[in-house]
C-alpha cells in the first residue's frame, strides 16, 4: 500500500469520472420554439425542451421584452419535452427580440434567449392598459446535480473529462521524458535512455488519444473532423515531432550514440512543444475556434463551473496517474528485456 496507493487512487478516480461523468444528466434547457416571430394578437406557441419535466413542473410561462412581461394565458404540456401555450400579445413591444421564460418547480427559471422576432414594434407596453403579469414565486428547490447544458456542445460536454486530460497526461509524460533525457546527457547511462523512450512512447499514445477525442469533438460541435486552427496545428506538430523522435532512434544503430542524439532531440522538441501548446496559439489567436483562444472563452471563464470542476479535476489527476502507471510498467518491461538480452548474450 505504501508504494502503490496512487495507482489505486487514480483508478478509483477514473472509475468515478466515467460513472458520474457519463451518467449525470444535463441540466434542462429550452432548445426550439415555433413560431419564431410574434405580432400583436393571439398566438399559439409550441416549445421544445431537453431533459425538461414539462408535465408536472411548470408553474408559469412568459414573454419578456425590454424588462416587460407578457404571461401565457394558458398552457398544456404535450409531453415532458414539449409544451403548448397561448399568448395574447399586446401592441407596443419595444425590442427587436423577445425572450421566452419558463418557471419550473424543479429547476427554477429556464430562459430561451431571443425566442421571437418582434414584428410590429412600438415604444414599450403602456403600463396602464397592458396586461402585464407577475408570475408566482417559487420556493428555491434543491436542484439535482446536473451538467451544464450548452448550445452546440450539448451532450458532448462530457468529452471535457477525456479530451483535455489526455493533453495534460501527454505533457506530464513528456516532462518525465525530458528529465530522463537530461540525465542521459549528464550521466550517459543506458537505463535513463530506456526510461526516456518509455515515457515518450506512452506520452505519444496519450497524444494520439487526444487527437482522436478532439477530432470526434470537432465533428460533433464544429461539423468537421479537422480544421486549420492554431491549437490543432500545434497538437498535430507535437505528435509529429515525437514520431520523428522514434524515426531518429530507428536510424542510429549504435546504442550510446543513439541515446545521446535522441536525448538532444527530445529536449529540443520538448521546449518547442511547450511553445506550440502555450505560446503560438495565443499569437495566432485571431482565427482560432478552440476554447481559450481568439475571443472564444475557455471553459473556466464561463462554464467550468463548480459542477464541471468537481469531475474535471479528479479526471485530470486520474488520467495523469494512469499514464504514469503505464509509463512505470513500460519502463520495467524495458529494463527486464534488457536484462534478458544481456543474459542471452552471455
Amino acid at each position: 500500500m505504501k508504494y502503490w496507493w496512487w495507482k489505486v487512487l487514480s483508478v478509483v478516480l477514473l472509475l468515478g469520472v466515467v460513472i458520474v461523468g457519463l451518467r449525470t444528466p444535463l441540466s434542462p434547457a429550452l432548445i426550439a420554439c415555433t413560431p419564431d416571430r410574434v405580432a400583436p394578437g393571439p398566438v399559439t406557441v409550441t416549445l421544445a425542451g431537453y431533459n425538461t419535466h414539462f408535465t408536472d413542473a411548470v408553474i408559469a410561462l412568459w414573454i419578456e421584452n425590454s424588462g416587460q412581461r407578457v404571461c401565457a394565458t394558458s398552457f398544456k404540456a404535450l409531453s415532458n419535452d414539449r409544451i403548448e401555450m397561448q399568448f395574447t400579445v399586446p401592441p407596443g413591444l419595444r425590442n427587436e427580440f423577445c425572450d421566452l421564460w419558463v418557471r419550473t418547480r424543479t429547476h427554477g427559471d429556464l430562459r430561451y434567449r431571443d425566442a421571437f422576432y418582434t414584428v410590429e414594434r412600438g415604444q414599450g407596453l403602456d403600463p396602464a392598459t397592458a396586461s402585464t403579469c407577475e408570475p408566482a414565486d417559487v420556493a428555491a428547490a434543491s436542484t439535482p446535480f446536473t451538467l451544464p447544458n450548452r448550445n452546440i456542445l450539448n451532450e458532448s460536454i462530457r468529452n471535457l473529462f477525456f479530451h483535455v486530460p489526455m493533453w495534460f497526461a501527454m505533457v506530464a509524460l513528456m516532462s518525465i521524458g525530458v528529465w530522463k533525457s537530461i540525465r542521459v546527457l549528464q550521466l550517459g547511462k543506458a537505463r535513463y535512455d530506456r526510461e526516456a523512450l518509455a515515457a515518450v512512447q506512452v506520452g505519444l499514445l496519450f497524444g494520439l488519444f487526444g487527437l482522436v477525442t478532439g477530432s470526434l469533438w470537432a465533428r460533433v460541435t464544429w461539423g468537421t473532423w479537422w480544421t486549420t486552427d492554431a491549437k490543432l496545428n500545434g497538437a498535430a506538430v507535437a505528435v509529429l515531432m515525437y514520431l520523428a523522435y522514434l524515426v531518429l532512434r530507428g536510424s542510429v544503430p549504435e546504442p550510446a550514440k543513439r541515446a545521446r542524439l535522441a536525448a538532444i532531440y527530445s529536449i529540443f522538441a520538448f521546449v518547442f512543444m511547450l511553445l506550440f501548446f502555450f505560446v503560438l496559439p495565443r499569437l495566432n489567436a485571431v482565427d482560432s475556434l478552440h476554447p481559450g483562444n481568439g475571443g472564444n472563452p475557455a471553459f473556466n471563464t464561463y462554464d467550468l463551473d463548480s459542477r464541471l470542476r468537481m469531475i474535471f479535476y479528479p479526471a485530470c489527476i486520474g488520467w495523469i496517474g494512469l499514464s504514469v502507471w503505464m509509463y512505470d510498467l513500460r519502463k520495467r518491461m524495458a529494463h527486464l528485456e534488457n536484462t534478458r538480452q544481456h543474459a542471452n548474450d552471455r
Binding site: L185, A230, N233, G234, V237, A238, L240, M241, A244, V247, L248, S251, V252, K257, R260, L261, A263, I264, Y265, I267, F268, A269, V271, F272, L275, F276, V279, L280, L283, N284
Partner: protein, 221 residues
C-alpha cells in the same frame, strides 16, 4: 572566445569560397525551382497563392542549404576542430554563418521570384514589412535547423532524416511567418503585425539558446 568565434566564421567563409560550387548550387537550386514554378503558373496575382508558393520554395531551399553545414566535414577535420575550439563557439559561428547565408539566399529567392512570378501583389503591400518578414523567417529557419542538421549528420543519414526531424520544428514558425507576410502583402499596419515579429524573434532567440546548450553534448564523441 570572441576571437575564436570570429576565426570560426572566417573559416566557414574560407571553406565556402574554396568550394565555390557549394554557394552556387544553393542559388541555382532556388533559381531552378522558381523557374519550374514559372513554367507551371506564369504570373500569379492572387496574394495567398503567391505568398504560399514563395514560402514553400524558401523552406525547401533552407533544407537544401542547411543540410550540408555538418556534412562536409570528414572525421579528420572534425577531430582537428574539436581539439582547437570550444563546441559552443563552433555552433554559434555556424548558426551565425547560416543565418547570414539564409538572409542572402532569401533575398536572391525573392528577387528571382518577383522577376518570374510577378510583382503585382506588391503594389498594395507594405514592402518594408514584407522584406523584414522574409528575412526574419529565413534567419529563423537557419537558427532552428542548424542543430537539427548536426543531429541528422551525426545520425549518418541524409536529407530525408533532416526533413523528418526539422519539419515539425519549423512548421509553426512557418505558419506564423506566412501569416505575418500575408498581412504585410495586404498592407496592414505595424500595430497589427508587430506581435508576430516579436513572437518570431522570441522563437529565434530560444532556438539559439537551446542549440548553444545542447550542441556540446552532440560534439562530444
Amino acid at each position: 572566445m570572441n576571437s575564436e568565434f570570429v576565426q570560426l566564421l572566417r573559416l566557414e567563409w574560407r571553406l565556402d569560397r574554396r568550394q565555390k560550387h557549394a554557394l552556387g548550387s544553393m542559388a541555382l537550386y532556388v533559381l531552378s525551382t522558381v523557374y519550374t514554378c514559372y513554367l507551371g503558373v506564369k504570373q500569379l496575382t492572387a496574394v495567398p497563392v503567391w505568398n504560399a508558393l514563395f514560402w514553400i520554395i524558401l523552406l525547401f531551399a533552407a533544407f537544401n542549404a542547411l543540410q550540408r553545414t555538418f556534412q562536409r566535414e570528414d572525421g579528420g577535420r572534425q577531430l582537428y576542430l574539436h581539439t582547437l575550439a570550444h563546441p559552443r563557439s563552433v555552433i554559434l559561428a555556424r548558426t551565425t554563418y547560416n543565418a547570414v547565408t539564409m538572409a542572402v539566399l532569401s533575398m536572391i529567392s525573392l528577387a528571382a521570384y518577383v522577376l518570374f512570378i510577378g510583382d503585382r501583389v506588391l503594389e498594395e503591400a507594405n514592402v518594408g514589412m514584407f522584406v523584414l518578414a522574409v528575412v526574419l523567417g529565413a534567419v529563423g529557419f537557419a537558427l532552428a535547423l542548424t542543430l537539427i542538421a548536426a543531429i541528422a549528420a551525426r545520425a549518418g543519414s541524409g536529407l530525408g532524416l533532416m526533413a523528418i526531424l526539422g519539419l515539425p520544428i519549423v512548421l509553426p514558425m512557418l505558419l506564423a511567418v506566412m501569416r505575418a507576410s500575408k498581412l504585410a502583402l495586404d498592407g496592414v499596419a505595424w500595430s497589427v503585425t508587430s506581435k508576430y515579429f516579436i513572437g518570431l524573434l522570441a522563437i529565434n532567440a530560444l532556438a539559439v539558446a537551446l542549440a548553444a546548450i545542447l550542441f556540446p553534448y552532440l560534439w562530444r564523441d
